[in-house]
Assembly symmetry: C2
Homo-oligomer: 314 residues x 2
C-alpha cells in the first residue's frame, strides 16, 4: 500500500509504559528514537504529560510526565526528522503546563478522552492549538459507547481546530466490518479532518484493523515495536512497515531495535495475545480484569475467568 | 457472524503435528477430540495418511499415518458429532490405502496439492470420492503461483466431484484485499463449490483473513487450538468461536483444553508470531528458512536473517 499521505506514529514508549509505570531507561528510549529516525517513522510518542499531583513521582518513571527538559536530553545529538508527541488524558488535566511550541521539543499533543469528557478534551485542544501544537483527539473505548453520544461528540470535534480524530479500539473488540463502518461514520461527521487508527490486539486484529482503516482513507496510524502495549498490546510497527510501500520507510533499524531491546524485554514484561485478553476482547470489555488475573497464580485459569466475566455481565 | 452454512474444522493435530513429527500422545488427541465434540466443532483433522515408504515410522508418530484402527482407539467411548478428516499430499501418494467410507472412522479426505500437481490431486479425489468420502482440495502456496496457472487448476477442479476447494495462504502473505480478490476468483471459476479458508499467522492476519473469507461466503474454515501449527501457526480456533454466533458452538471446552494442554505444550514446542515468520510472510516466501534459523543459536538475529532473505531473492 502506497499513499504519500499515510503517516505512522510509534507509541512504544507511551503505550508500553503502561506495563512498567513508565520506567523505561534513557538508553532504551534513545535507542528507539534513533531506530525510528533511521526508519523514517513520522512520529514518536514519548509518554504522558501527567499531573504530579495525580500521579506522584514516587510511583512512576520519567515518561509519565515527559518534561521538555527530559525529552531534550534523550534526543540530543541524534539527527532526526521524527516529530515528537505526548499524550494527555482530558479527564486528568490539573496543573500540567505546556510551553509554546517553539520553546518545546514536542510537536504534537494527543488528547485522550472518553465521549463523556469531550468538552474537557476540546478545552485542552484549544489551549494546545493556541500554543502552536498539532493536536489529535483520541476518542477511547468507542466500541462500548452508544452511537448517538459518539456522533454528538464527533459533531463537536468537527468545529474544533484539531487536525486528527482517532478511532481507538481500546477493548480490541472490532473486526473489519465494524472498522469500515466507524471510519465512514467519522468521515461523515468530521469533514476535512484526518482520521487516525489506534488498535489493540486482543483478537489478533490490531494490524488487520489498521490496514482496514488505511483502506478507508485513515492517514495517521499507530504501531509499536513488537506490538508492546498494555494487555494484548498494539499493532506491530514492523508489520506496518512491511506493508507500507512508501520508499521513505526502512525496516532494518526496526528489526535491529527489536532484536536488541524488545526480545530481552519480553522476558521481563508481559504483553501480547493471551486468552484472557481474547475473552475481554470478544466480550467487548475493558481489559482490566484480564490484566489483574494475569498477575495472580491463577493466570492460566481461563475457564474460571470466562465464567467470572459472564457473571459480571449478569 | 451467524450463517448456518459456516462449518469449522480444527487442524490442531494435523498442522500442529508438523512441529513435533506427529508425536502427540493418545491422551492429548483424545482430550482434543472430547473438547471439540463438546464445543460443537464440525470437523477434526487427525493428521496425514502418509506412505511408510516415504515417511519411515522410525521418524514419525502415529498421526503421520492415521491408520483407521488408531483413530478408532482414540475416539472409542466418546459421544460426538464431530466428523473426522485426514490430509494426503497429492505429490506423495505411493502405497497408501483407504477403506471404503462405511468401514472407516474417517469422513473426509483433504487433498493438499500444489498447482503443478493438480492432476495427481484430481486422481486422488476421484478415488476417494468413489470410496464414498467427502473430499476437499487444498491448493497450497497460491500467493506464489501465477494467476494463469492457478485459474487453469481451478477450472480443472470445477469438473471434479470434490465439494470444497481451499484458499491456502501457506506463506501468510495475503491481506484482506487480496483474500477478497482470491475468494471471488475461486467463486468465478468453481461454480457451486464450497470455498474453504486455511490461513497462516505470519503477519498476525490468520484470523482476520479467515473472517474476510467468511464475509465473502467461504463456508469451511480452519482453526487450531491457540493457533498451533508450523511456524507462525494458524487461525486461533478460540477466536473463531468467539466470533461465530451460531449457538451450537460452545467456547468453554475450548478454553479448558487450551489451559490444560496447550499452555503447558507451548513451553516445549514453539509456534506463533515471531519476527522471522513476519519477514518470510511479507516477503511472500516459504517459511522454511525461518523455521531453520529458529533452531540455531542465532534465532533472534533478525537483521541478519532479513539480509539473507534479500540475498536469496537476488
Amino acid at each position: 500500500m502506497y499513499r504519500e499521505t499515510i503517516k505512522v506514529l510509534d507509541c512504544t514508549i507511551r503505550d508500553g509504559g503502561l506495563i512498567n509505570n513508565h520506567h523505561f531507561t534513557d538508553e532504551f528510549v534513545r535507542a528507539v528514537y534513533k531506530a525510528l529516525s533511521l526508519a523514517g517513522i513520522d512520529y514518536m510518542e514519548m509518554g504522558y504529560r501527567s499531573s504530579r499531583q495525580v500521579a506522584p513521582p514516587a510511583d512512576y518513571g520519567a515518561w509519565k510526565y515527559c518534561d521538555d527538559e527530559k525529552i531534550r536530553e534523550i534526543i540530543d545529538g541524534i539527527e532526526s526528522d521524527v516529530k515528537l508527541s505526548i499524550m494527555v488524558d482530558a479527564h486528568r488535566v490539573i496543573e500540567q503546563e505546556f510551553a509554546p511550541v517553539d520553546q518545546s521539543p514536542i510537536d504534537m499533543i494527543r488528547v485522550a478522552t472518553y465521549v463523556k469528557d469531550i468538552d474537557k478534551a476540546i478545552s485542552l485542544v484549544d489551549k494546545c492549538h493556541d500554543l502552536g501544537y498539532e493536536t489529535t483527539v483520541n476518542v477511547m473505548a468507542i466500541s462500548a459507547e452508544n452511537e448517538h453520544d459518539l456522533i454528538e461528540a464527533l459533531d463537536q470535534l468537527a468545529k474544533t481546530p484539531t487536525g486528527t480524530v482517532y478511532v481507538v479500539d481500546s477493548y480490541g473488540y472490532f473486526f473489519s466490518e465494524q472498522i469500515e463502518y466507524i471510519v465512514k461514520l467519522y468521515q461523515d461527521h468530521l469533514p476535512g479532518k484526518r482520521i487516525g487508527m489506534h488498535c489493540h490486539n486482543n483478537q489478533q486484529l490490531a494490524f488487520a484493523n489498521t490496514i482496514e482503516g488505511i483502506r478507508h482513507d485513515s492517514n495517521l496510524v499507530d504501531g509499536s515495536l513488537y506490538g508492546i502495549g498494555r494487555g494484548a498490546g498494539n499493532c506491530c510497527l514492523e508489520l506496518l512497515i512491511g506493508f507500507l510501500k512508501n520508499p521513505k520507510f526502512c525496516i532494518e533499524p526496526i528489526l535491529k531495535v527489536i532484536q536488541d531491546y524488545m526480545i530481552p524485554m519480553s522476558k521481563d514484561l508481559e504483553w501480547g495475545y493471551m486468552i484472557p485478553y481474547a475473552v475481554t476482547g470478544f466480550m467487548n470489555q475493558h481489559p482490566r480484569s484480564a490484566i489483574a488475573m494475569r498477575k495472580t497464580d491463577g493466570k492460566d485459569k481461563y475457564l474460571e475467568f470466562y465464567s467470572q466475566i459472564l457473571d459480571l455481565l449478569d
